[in-house]
Point group: C2
Chain length 603, copies 2
């Protein structure tokens, strides 16, 4: 089993999604993307695939086995970062989606997302660093002034420096309202930061000459007062080294700890201290008190990034298990008495079950991630304002699902890939267990699954008077109608249609419960609600793929097996997952009280 043979992401599926499901050609007609055409996208993806398979993937396991070192207060990455960071930066992907005026290429985020899937499947460590760097630069681009852009954004987009998101603090965790880091105004217009941050990925390393932290902190006025809660949080640029006298000098940002992570081990997670010597300079980005809302404007892309990382990891593990199942002879056909020669395990029904479950999770999640990426493009660049507004609302609604489904089900998916390997899967001589460890982070960072569930039910479905949900239901209904017309199995169409109606009715019932003042009852089953919504939404994605898979063989009869696989994945989802929707709805709407009622003494 050579790792080099793993395709990481299936090329034909990517082409299918871009051309036959998501209509990339039509998407490229948006004026902002004028510099790009379909052939150019293929050329870019070819570069990305080679980079992923030949350069990034061969270093991933070595980075897992030899995590960053922390010595004399500084962090040293695995030396292979020096080989893979420059070619990654050279692709231009760090700023590819950004405007040409900011050094970007105005590439669709949709295409960028495909590239991220390949690269993330190859090596999450370096791709994580790249995503954080892009994200930090994008914050400065969006909310900073021209001087800040020149000073901070440009070196980040050019990969000369790297960036972080420095939100989390030990005592606050998911509850950012409790962030304590302070920022006191200084005479020169900058601020002096004091506080500590934890779990800052890429917060220290030896790869580039500077690390730029985009940090949430609380402005303290002259009289020592500050605004409590999230409304008191502002966004600051807090570099490890600050420009002074034409060079860079240390900025009183100290690495206090490197957390021993169980996965994603090549990229260090750091505890940082700001202002131990009262000399930590920070620069306010945009208006004070806007930190949370600024962060949240970037959050969609960051959460799609996590979803893509999860899809990518599950995809690599899926393909590894397919190759293993094809090449591993074991057992015989159980329907033949004493029968025949050893067969490859891919022929055993239960192995096929584990493969198709993975395939349905990976391809459903990939299609959804790319659908969301297309919405990012439409929301930002579509010439029609209505399309922009509707795309943004639909995107906002889908984001918690795009983040959570691949993370939760992708973990299950990698566990199945491990299981297919049997005892070998339990050994670190095979790569699957490392993907299992990598994957577990995705249910935690950028908002845990529980936080995403509260976001979906407590904010997103009820936003704009429920209009976002109406848009989603309209999209699903349109796909169902198209599927019926094109001859997709009526049972599949019906399963998705009914699921969609259940989603609508459940949301309505919960919204009314909330309006009646029972917020706790409304939110009691938020995770079940997310599960319900995700099951329907992924079903919708599979239905869209099934429609394209019906049409496909007309022009590409040689790919009939490929298309049959897509149809079987849709059927699998409809018959194995959609039946759970009714029970989930009952739990949500009845506010089934078991866990609410367990007395304190009974745990």
């Amino acid at each position: 089993m050579s790792h080099a043979e793993n395709p990481l992401v299936d090329d034909r599926t990517v082409t299918f999604l871009l051309d036959e499901v998501l209509d990339l050609r039509a998407h490229l007609a948006i004026p902002y993307f004028a510099a790009h055409d379909r052939e150019g996208v293929d050329m870019l993806l070819e570069v990305v695939r080679k980079l992923a398979r030949r350069v990034l993937y061969p270093t991933w396991k070595a980075q897992d086995e030899r995590p960053p070192q922390f010595q004399d207060g500084r962090v040293t990455l695995h030396p292979s970062f020096r080989d893979i960071w420059p070619p990654l930066v050279d692709t231009g992907l760090l700023s590819a989606t950004r405007p040409e005026t900011h050094g970007g290429q105005q590439l669709p985020f949709l295409v960028h997302a495909v590239a991220a899937a390949y690269l993330g499947a190859a090596n999450l460590n370096v791709v994580g660093l790249a995503m954080l760097t892009s994200g930090a630069a994008h914050l400065v681009e969006a909310f900073g002034d021209d001087a800040q852009r020149a000073q901070w954004m440009t070196p980040l987009y050019e990969g000369r420096w790297t960036g972080t998101m420095a939100l989390t603090e030990e005592q606050a965790g998911s509850s950012l309202a409790d962030v304590r880091t302070t920022a006191r105004p200084a005479a020169d217009g900058s601020y002096r930061l004091k506080g500590s941050k934890i779990f800052i990925s890429g917060g220290d390393h030896d790869l580039t000459e500077n690390v730029v932290n985009l940090a949430l902190a609380r402005v303290v006025a002259e009289d020592g007062t500050s605004v409590p809660g999230t409304r008191g949080l502002s966004l600051f640029i807090v570099p490890r080294r600050r420009p002074e006298g034409g060079g860079l000098v240390p900025n009183d940002v100290t690495t206090t700890q490197v957390i021993h992570k169980i996965g994603w081990r090549g990229l260090p997670s750091i505890a940082l201290s700001f202002g131990d010597r009262d000399d930590c300079h920070g620069w306010l980005v945009g208006a004070p008190g806007r930190g949370m809302s600024q962060m949240f404007q970037m959050m969609n892309e960051a959460r799609i990034g996590v979803g893509l990382a999860a899809v990518a990891t599950a995809s690599a593990a899926y393909h590894e298990s397919v190759a293993y199942a094809r090449s591993r002879p074991q057992g015989r056909d159980p329907s033949k008495k004493d029968g025949g020669p050893q067969i490859p395990i891919v022929e055993h029904a239960d192995v096929r079950r584990m493969l198709l479950r993975q395939k349905a999770i990976v391809e459903g999640a990939l299609c959804l991630s790319l659908t969301a990426a297309r919405l990012v493009d439409r929301a930002a660049h579509h010439p029609d304002e209505t399309v922009r507004t509707e795309s943004q609302r639909l995107l906002d609604l889908l984001t918690p699902i795009v983040k959570t489904f691949p993370a939760e089900r992708g973990f299950e998916s990698v566990a199945l890939a491990l299981q297919i390997h049997g005892g070998y899967g339990y050994s670190s001589e095979y790569p699957v267990e490392a993907w299992l460890r990598d994957q577990k982070l995705n249910t935690i960072h950028e908002g845990t699954s529980g936080i995403q569930a509260l976001d979906l039910l407590g904010r997103k479905v009820v936003a704009h008077g429920g209009e976002s949900l109406t848009l989603l239901l309209r999209e699903i209904a349109s796909t169902v109608a198209e599927a019926q017309k094109s001859g997709v199995d009526p049972a599949i169409c019906e399963a998705i249609g009914t699921g969609s109606q259940t989603l609508a009715a459940t949301t309505m019932a919960l919204g009314q419960r909330g309006l009646a003042g029972d917020v706790a009852g409304m939110l009691l089953h938020s995770s079940d609600f997310l599960d319900l919504a995700a099951t329907v939404v992924i079903g919708w994605q599979h239905l869209a793929m099934a429609v394209a898979a019906r049409r496909g063989p007309e022009t590409r009869p040689e790919l009939s097996e490929f298309y049959e696989g897509k149809r079987m994945a849709a059927q699998y989802w409809a018959s194995h997952e959609l039946p759970r929707v009714a029970a989930l709805s009952a739990l949500c709407t009845s506010a089934e009280p078991s866990y609410a009622r367990v007395p304190d003494g009974a745990w």
Copy 2:
């Protein structure tokens, strides 16, 4: 979070199960257990708890962090094994359930299973070694002659030597019919073994002076022929060192590899080679050609052992996450606007969801494991032959569930414990991630989950003309009737009752499909069938606990919260899990064909 505070298994729940659910006092009336009374059991369990919490648990993480070394052809365990093996042996547990005539104490396996749960939760490495040693000795006890018992069984039961089960070979995996190791008769009545084994837990170490492998091999006749398939397999004693000239001499058993496992890391998994120098002596146990059936007669206890290990691991992780959730302040009451002080996360609905799911999995699985352990006792020792026969049949039927449910759901359970810890759970500074790694082995060893599913549907439910299933349905119906009489929530009773009927109807339909010759169609959804059966069976266990929890407060009003917790776990299972049964049944009976139909080219 001090590890020492983790109770590993809840004492009060154990007492509840033994006295109020499983009626240990009545069980002790079986004559074989005459030397034991209820108070003696408590004294033994007190010794076991102290050993687990004070001696075994403090060494577990250190063993995980420093796995066995392989140098100059020999394996060295973590030095702490020398501190914990002697006190573990001193408990007498290695042979406690065995007859006094063989040096045992005639302890109920039920009590032994409780002890194993505590000890396994504390340190699976050493408990795994003990279980393998007991299992090997038990094989010699059951099928060997008196001389073999004196030579091999006694030092194993006394913990002076340790034992292994040497079944698996690289090319065969789960398919034991393809085992190739050969045994040629020698002039002295012993055999000469040749071949290699893989994944032999405890197959080499420096803890005791000898390791006794109980190995499957194929007898080769003078003319070079051998019987193919499982009917050709015989059981051999193949020690690392053999008795010769009053001492022990090397027996040509070579350690060729130590597999780098991702969990259960303190106990080495070894690749062994027999007969590299044609001098590997083995002794046939019992009759030739009986190897598989002999192994399978021990299999029930080995598989209950795996189930218990899985319950134990999930239990330790559950209690760790309860303590964390109680002590970790984060966020505020979401139903209060800008409201109140930070609250411990145990008060957040979604954390409670993750805790109750764990509790329901752990306690349901523990109750089932102990129910199975009681059946082991009844099958072996009950004075009434009908009870013995029926107990054996019910046990055979339940065993694949006892093995698989705790392994599969216990993995999910530990993942939830990790999730409750947030970013800290992803760090190796906290113990949860190590339990996640330990747990993953349980779906693989002693027969993968897929193998268990085939065993349940292909053998167990159809055995004896379906009589085993009839016995199970009778037991469930009896518990449902008792629950209705004692006032358990009718909705819970109905969920279990309906689930049980669905199990019966599904089995009937699948059996008919098999009888009609469509074996592949019958077995296509064997994993879904196991899931269905396990969901009902665990529901039955929760119902039995709910019955006891209704009665409990009458005599123990001070424990009303404890009992309420048991009732809520039952309600949770009935309302969250039982609704899946109908859809699983539909998949099984319709032989839903999606994964069977995926074409080769479409993976």
